[in-house]
């Protein structure tokens, strides 16, 4: 790999051989971290592995676009984020119907839209933000995330992974914005309830 004389930054490689040796180095340096990230987002080992493989294959193809402005790891993480988002979208589109009837099987609200007694939000002694550094809370939080139906989980995470506007996310998922809010609403209601049950009411 050639280096820029002044900054010691790798210049875009030209030959296939150079690309391969650079990529091999990056695989050795970053594959493990990328895998942890992919596993955290998908909770599935084989999927995580596939996504990291695809990330490196895409990196090979896009190598010419890498200008060295960001650290290689950051660049690779950006590609991985796109791969995870694609995976979420594919999984979402493969489900036959994503419509949520707002009144059907509603465990949180009565027919008229009032809180059900057993679902009333209780007072929390502490704010989740103050618990960020408590490892046990982090694990409960992850557990609750994993309990969400897969598509709700994916839709909830998509906006953080890609930081796109709601309209773009809806378009890429093939759903209406109304449906999108409905899913986010359901996912958050369940998250809140789960945290209350597994953390705040056990303290």
């Amino acid at each position: 790999m050639r280096k820029d004389e002044k900054n010691n930054i790798p210049t875009p490689a030209s030959s296939e051989h150079e690309i391969n040796s650079q990529l091999q180095q990056w695989v050795n340096l970053y594959a493990a971290d990328l895998y942890r990230r992919a596993y955290y987002l998908t909770s599935h080992r084989e999927t995580a592995e596939d996504l990291v493989q695809e990330t490196f294959l895409a990196a090979t193809q896009q190598f010419g676009q890498y200008e060295g402005k960001s650290a290689p790891k950051t660049w690779l993480q950006g590609i991985l984020n796109h791969k995870v988002a694609d995976y979420f979208r594919l999984r979402f589109r493969q489900k036959p119907s994503q419509d949520i009837d707002p009144s059907a099987n509603d465990t949180y609200f009565t027919e008229s839209g009032a809180w059900r007694t057993e679902a009333l939000p209780a007072k929390w002694d502490d704010s989740p933000e103050n618990l960020l550094d408590v490892p046990e809370f982090g694990r409960v939080f992850e557990e609750c995330l994993e309990h969400l139906p897969a598509t709700w989980h994916d839709v909830l995470l998509l906006k953080f992974i890609e930081s796109k506007k709601s309209e773009e996310i809806c378009q890429s998922l093939g759903i209406t914005t109304t449906n999108y809010w409905q899913i986010i609403h359901r996912a958050k209601l369940q998250m809140r309830h789960c945290l209350e049950q597994l953390w705040f009411q056990r303290r």
Partner: protein, 96 residues
């Protein structure tokens, strides 16, 4: 008129999420939500808790990217032959 303007708790929490995610609401939605929240302690609580959950989620995803998350027990580890298989695919020019 008042009855027309009053939201149910289901609607109020839905608008709370809409506001959190999209950052804005229509003028009417905003007024209706503000009116509901002023009168309903439960939905106020929901809004606070949901906002906090949002922040935790955002920060967890970010910290995880920087690999600061502590895993209970064994962190997920790449299979032994992962690098070998990937390098083989790369060398086959699979990606080029």
């Amino acid at each position: 008129m008042m009855k027309y303007l009053m939201l149910s708790c289901r609607e109020a929490t839905r608008l709370t999420e809409k506001k959190l995610t999209s950052g804005r609401l229509s003028l009417l939605d905003n007024i209706q939500l503000a009116m509901h929240l002023r009168m309903c302690e439960r939905c106020r609580r929901y809004a606070q808790q949901s906002t906090a959950i949002e922040k935790v989620l955002e920060r967890q995803l970010k910290e995880q990217e920087e690999n600061e998350v502590n895993y209970e027990g064994e962190p997920p580890v790449l299979p032994n032959d992962f690098r070998e298989r990937l390098l083989r695919r790369l060398q086959q020019g699979d990606g080029i």
